[in-house]
Amino acid sequence: MTHAPSRRELLLASGTLFAWSYVPRLARAEGRDPRFLTIVLRGALDGLATVAPVGDPDWVSLRGDNALTLEGKTPALKLDDFFALNPAMPNLARMFKANEAIIVHAAATSYRERSHFDGQDVLQSGVEKPGTTRTGWLNRLLVGLAPGDRVSPNGGRVFAVGPVTPLVVRGPAPMLAWSPRRIPPASDDTIARLLDLYRHTEVNFARVLEGRMKLAAIAPAGAMEQKPTGPVSGPVSGPTIPQLRAYFAEAVGTAAKFLAQPDGPRVGALALDGWDTHYNEGIATGWLAQLLGALDAALVAVQENMGPAWRETVVALVTEFGRTARINGTEGTDHGTGTVMLLAGGALNGGRVIADWPGLKPADLFENRDLKSTIDVRGVLKGLLKDHLRADDRLLAADVFPGSADVKPMAGLVASG
């Protein structure tokens, strides 16, 4: 067995951004103009490889050579006396030091099985039972938030990167979809004729094309230009690392450009794939490190592209569940439970790792295999939505995360909150 397969399990076209062009009314009444971006990391991020509990006495024996530590060739980046960040993320560490990032550890949704697709369904729908709803929590939030002034006469819409829409943004609130442009666009006249054709019988088709026209009106510089790579040969395989970094930065950075526009959208989301590291995980220098590095660079793109609006920004990175605490038989990790949430943005009351650490002894692990979850992802999200966007408790418990009345919004995450 000398083969050395490369890991390229990821699909670039699935990154999706959507956004809403109203400022939440209560926030605006306070003179604030908050931006909120959610990034869904599909595939189950290894939380222990992203933020390592280097202060836990059982850590090194648990992961052996794969345990990140503060020593060695690629030392982890110290966050506090207990936790250290993957060395591939120096910019997130910088934001953390500047009190502009928060790590929430040993967190999970209410889902306790190990199916990616059910796990993603629960994470993105915000509903406890998988497969029971076709709308996402972020979309339902927008429906329920009292809209203040439109930031744009072309607003009132949500927005998506890539042709495939992830669940978190699906729902009744209308959407704008943005894709990197690779071929020349059809003429406005053709679009207008199709709109006429759809208007009476295919309202949802019409909404897509209306969104397309409105998107152009609020697009930041460069977002609608055609990129030089044509479709002639077409993508046939996974991206190289430079392509991956370029794509993450383009997708996430463009989201930030839209959100930074004075008349642009205020709430957005996109999904990034590739985190399902069953085999040759590459925690310190390999595949996972490359992915985390690309993510780290994408966060820099957000900060830079937001400009002054960074002060009013929160980016929340979430994943469906974690991975096994121990390394499996193929230098990777299988599906698990507790993991990390990464929060970044100038609006945060940051510089903290928030955890109710469950421990790593066999008896501490969930089913003697996974990091136990001691924090509900919904509580963190509710805290952000409440303090940053001024969503009220009832809306959050009834519509956004139904059945979560017992999960209190986590207080104090936002600096001005």
């Binding site: 067995m1 699909l11 599909r42 190990r114 990616h116 495939v164 009476h200």
Partner: protein, 481 residues
């Protein structure tokens, strides 16, 4: 005849790849009979691919290609280093040719060639893709090809991980069984190196096997979990984490011969040294250790589980008929699957015989690749595989490259926002294809009695032939089936 034409148009769009000129009329006498006849065609599901390498050959070729490229890169790096050490300005210009030949000037003909032949990885996917698209475009109706696409997506692998084998896998594991027995397709799939590679089983080692003890290695449970969750029983059907782990034990030793082995690299192998010894209990039944047959026995039983029948029936109905398929249709398909012991031709026949398959409104949004093929068929236009596969990617359905082992989504909510990209793809296609076409005649050929007055008028009033073709391809009746 009009009623016949209406059902013929429905048959072509819903169960086939859409009409070509004349095909609505050709099957209008008996649309259902025409679909059943498609199942009985000699060689149905097979494609002529003698010119293509099998999956093991392709894996070995790609291994060699990458090894050579790696060596070339290394030589170039060495040359660059040597040049830098000598303090020379432009190292690249003086790098020796890694093939050991003097660098000749590029011949004029090669310089003016617009598209140099693609490298091996792209070639492999394009050659396999061409066979697939040709089969779909050339089919009279395309029902069997649609079945191939359905099963290929159900049992998907990805070029992201196993590029060399992705196309050959479909020919080797899916096509031979598409009208055969489910258990045979299941066994062919789970013993195919492409799937074992895709879901990480090749190095999964039984902790108490010889290799496990010697190397202190253990399981990778990815394949076991996805067989239960995606390929057979379906999620939330009662199996436990313990079932996943036990089943992973059963599957240890299912691997392939290393790609660098010159004559058999890339072929399936059962390696007893890696196989976990002893009995394993999976979904309530104990399986003695019979080596590889232990896994075959589990697969055979999974194929017969009622949950598997229900899971397959639901996906089948959802794919062909409606995002939320009517329960009576799902029930009929479940019963057919169960009664016929997973006979997939019977399942297809049951679909055609069911009244729900014909009476429900045309609400399914064609998936991008299906829509592309239906446009190629209707227009009869020449096509180039690179551009066709590029369009697959731009629309979010890159060939053999789904976002995860659950395959591409099969409902409208995933695809509707991509309609904006479809307009641009249609426009790009029409700009090259429309001049020799008569779009108004194509409305009749492609939609016949399905075409609304609005659609007919919209196409007829277009400014140019190109625009007319875009409007036809983007008409609701052409997007839906």
């Amino acid at each position: 005849m009009t009623a016949g034409k209406l059902e013929a148009a429905l048959a072509l769009h819903r169960f086939g790849f859409g009409p070509v000129a004349g095909s609505i009329a050709a099957i209008a006498d008996d649309p259902r009979g025409a679909l059943l006849a498609d199942l009985e065609r000699p060689g149905a599901g097979r494609v002529a691919a003698a010119h293509l390498p099998n999956s093991a050959q392709a894996a070995r070729a790609l291994f060699e290609f990458r090894a050579e490229r790696g060596a070339k890169e290394k030589l170039a790096q060495r040359a660059k280093k040597a040049a830098e050490a000598e303090g020379m300005g432009s190292a690249a210009a003086n790098a020796p040719n890694p093939d050991g030949e003097a660098q000749a000037p590029v011949p004029q003909a090669a310089q003016t060639q617009q598209n140099p032949p693609p490298e091996l990885p792209v070639q492999l996917v394009q050659n396999e893709g061409k066979v697939r698209i040709e089969a779909a475009v050339a089919a009279e109706i395309g029902f069997v090809e649609r079945l191939v696409w359905f099963w290929s997506n159900h049992f998907c692998v990805s070029t992201d991980k196993i590029l060399s084998m992705a196309g050959a896998y479909e020919r080797e594991a899916i096509r031979p069984h598409v009208l055969g027995r489910f258990v045979d397709m299941l066994t062919a799939v789970e013993t195919h190196p492409a799937m074992l590679f895709y879901l990480d089983n090749g190095l999964s080692i039984g902790p108490n096997s010889i290799a496990g003890i010697n190397r202190d290695k253990s399981l990778n449970e990815n394949l076991a979990r996805e067989i239960l969750e995606l390929h057979t029983l379906g999620v939330r059907t009662g199996y436990s984490q313990d079932d996943v782990t036990r089943f992973a034990n059963v599957l240890t030793g299912w691997t392939w011969i290393a790609f660098n082995e010159p004559s058999h690299g890339g072929e399936f192998a059962f390696v007893k040294r890696m196989h976990e010894p002893g009995e394993q209990t999976v979904v309530g039944k104990a399986y003695p250790d019979t080596g590889m047959n232990q896994g075959r026995a589990v697969l055979a039983d999974l194929a017969q589980q009622p949950a598997t029948a229900a899971h397959i029936a639901y996906k089948f109905a959802r794919h062909f008929v409606a995002d939320q398929p009517p329960p009576p249709l799902v029930d009929k398909l479940t019963k057919s699957f169960t009664d016929s012991d997973g006979n997939l031709k019977e399942l297809a026949k049951t679909l055609i015989a069911a009244e729900e398959s014909w009476t429900l409104e045309r609400t399914k949004l064609k998936r991008p690749a299906e829509w592309i093929v239906s446009a190629l068929r209707l227009s009869g236009a020449q096509w180039a595989i690179g551009r066709v596969l590029g369009s697959h990617g731009l629309l979010g359905e890159p060939l053999w490259r789904p976002p995860g082992p659950n395959g591409f989504a099969d409902d409208e909510s995933a695809w509707i926002d991509g309609l904006s990209q479809r307009v641009d793809i249609a426009d790009d296609f029409a700009s090259r294809a429309a001049e020799r076409l008569d779009p108004v005649a194509l409305v009749e050929a492609g939609l016949g009695p399905l075409a609304s007055a609005d659609t007919r008028n919209t196409v007829a009033r277009a400014q140019t032939r190109g625009q007319a073709l875009v409007l036809l391809l983007m008409a609701p009746e052409f997007l839906r089936r």
